[in-house]
Amino acid sequence: MAQLQLREALRRAMVEEMRRDDRVFLMGEEVANYDGAYKVSQGMLEEFGERRIIDTPISENGFVGLGVGAAMAGLRPIIEVMTWNFSLVAYDQIINNAAKIVQMTAGQYTVPMVIRGPNGAAENLGSQHSQALESIFAHFPGLKVVSTSTPADAYGLLKSAIRDPDPVIFMESELAYGVKGEVPDDETLIPLGEAVTRREGSDLTLVSWNKQIFSCLEAADVLQKEYGISAQVLDLRTIRPLDEQALYDAVARTHRMVIVQEGFPFAGIAAEISARVQEACFDALDAPILRVTNLDLNQPYATNLEKLVIPSVARIIQAARAVCNR
């Protein structure tokens, strides 16, 4: 198995899919000549040329919408947004077009496209550049939402997303682009909608995704060592379709759940999961489900303030101890 950075794993997925299928192309700001704002697409222009690796003007509304049209026409666009914050100027195209075209046309047209880019806070980027936006996409039927920053998962899930017949919102992490992990040498696809257990445990389940998984694993170590609490870490990887069965199975075994979500708490993914689990598994629960999320605040710039706002290992430990009464 090769050790790949997240950015390399994503690139490998795109390169393999582009070699396999001429309909796949990559379009976005700085993806070609500049090799990608975060070097995810490094070298791809050289291999595939200007026809398939395409730099755009700063017109997200235009080129995300163009991607929707190209997908309807039978191509397989990968549209890179420099960060998900900037996708908001194209939100109408994603919500009112991409998510609805299959339904509005009663299945006559489909939108097989991937929109991908980094999501969530990096460091000290302030209010407009630090948002984790899964909930405002997962809200909509017609979209699929992947959020991961583990190299092997990013590789296998991006390949599936590119082949998927529906619009897939694919969320990565700026801070994790350089993080290395083992990626299988053989071509591997991971189906959308399957959670994975990152660490076995019996006292409670920590549910998370994307880079907060790293915080959960760190917290689980401390919980074991210092408090004798055995925490399962369940990585959702895909937010929509949600692997409800994995959540219900986890609660049936551990009877306690803490959901760790980067992003605003109000009407967030953690709230949705919490509602579903308590509706389906009320009798299996030994404690209320707790959420660890961003504070209900826009992101401040200063390091000390920023650290208070996003979920921390300490806050995860605190919530885990609370549901376990220890």
């Binding site: 309909r23 026809r51 919408g65 049209g69 026409a73 509005m104 046309t105 299945g107 006559q108 529906d166």
Partner: protein, 336 residues
């Protein structure tokens, strides 16, 4: 001669066919209005009466393989593309036999068989799709052109401007066809735009553009044909403005009290249907033939109405069928 002028002389048969299509659209819309007042058609219903020459002339300039995208005032556009009036009327009635099985409704008519990509309800939001279709055509190096209809109001939107600039940057084969009917809902054009010829927006990105009168169907055909040929030849996109007018309110719920006195009567003097009839008469087509065409289309429209009325409601068992692609799963249908 300026770009917008034309000396095109249609043949008698050509013109008769265009007259037939225009008369059908008008009668169809009149029946839709009737059904709406009887609450058989619900929601928003935007009629095309007055603008028929644009849809018919533009459609005649296209190949069946070309892509057409429209907004919500699209009954005439889809009919001119050849979609069955029954399937369109049934859709307005919200029936299972409708062109989108009662799911889309008046604002979201789509017919894949005729490359009619649909009606869209977010003003300006659909121009990107035609741009994407043109991108795909260029990517695959096929001959397809896309044509997108939009209103004067839509030419104030960001998605419109971004579509123009991307299409021009990459010289994509798309024709942007603005139907300037001088109103965006109740707001008249001089109250919301400093410029009143929306084709001028093309100048900002260096796009070929011109304006023409949209009442004479032959004139529309000739202007759109030249634009389509230009786009198909690989020269790049074109933005056109057809000057036109809608006789009815913005939608069925709008009594259109904002018009200037006498404005509607003035426009009706150059009514598109009367123009064709006059031209045909001048070509020696007798009154009987014209009346016969009218009787035929009246029958077709009435048949559509009856069909819609007697059709079953959509099947609730199919409610969940259209959220994701019908053939979900891995796609190994690789054409690389």
């Amino acid at each position: 001669m300026s770009e917008g002028e034309t000396s095109y002389e249609p043949s008698r048969d050509e013109l008769l066919e265009w007259y037939r299509q225009m008369a059908l659209i008008r009668r169809f819309e009149e029946l839709a209005a009737k059904a709406y007042t009887q609450r058989k058609i619900l929601g928003f219903c935007h009629l095309y009466i007055g603008q028929e020459a644009v849809a018919v002339g533009a459609s005649a300039a296209l190949e069946p393989t070309d892509v057409v995208v429209s907004a919500y005032r699209e009954h005439g556009h889809i009919l001119a593309r050849g979609t069955s009036p029954r399937a369109v009327m049934a859709e307005l009635f919200g029936k299972g036999t409708g062109i989108t099985q009662g799911v889309g409704g008046s604002m979201h008519l789509a017919d894949r068989e005729r490359n009619f990509w649909g009606g869209y309800g977010i003003v300006g939001g659909h121009l990107t799709l035609a741009t994407g279709a043109a991108f795909a055509a260029r990517y695959r190096q096929d001959e397809q052109v896309s044509l997108v209809y939009f209103g004067d109001g839509a030419a104030q939107q960001g998605a419109f401007f971004e579509s123009l600039l991307l299409a021009q940057l990459w010289k994509l084969p798309v024709v942007f066809l603005c139907e300037n009917n001088y109103y965006a809902m109740g707001t008249s054009i001089e109250r919301y735009s400093a410029l009143q010829d929306m084709s001028l927006r093309g100048d900002g990105v260096g796009m070929k553009r011109w304006q023409f009168q949209g009442f004479d169907v032959a004139e529309v055909y000739d202007n759109v044909k030249r634009a389509v040929d230009y786009a198909r030849s690989g020269e790049g996109p074109v933005i056109l403005e057809a000057v036109t007018y809608r006789y009815r309110g913005h939608s069925m719920s709008d009594p259109a009290k904002y018009r200037k006195k006498g404005e509607l009567d003035d426009v009706k003097k150059k009514d598109a249907l009367e123009l064709v009839r006059d031209r045909l008469a001048a070509m020696g087509v007798d009154q009987d033939t014209l009346d016969q065409v009218k009787a035929e289309v009246n029958e077709i429209a009435q048949d559509a109405y009856d069909f819609a009325e007697s059709s079953p409601d959509p099947d609730p068992a199919r409610l969940y069928d259209y959220t994701y692609a019908p053939d979900a799963g891995d796609d190994d249908n690789v054409e690389a």
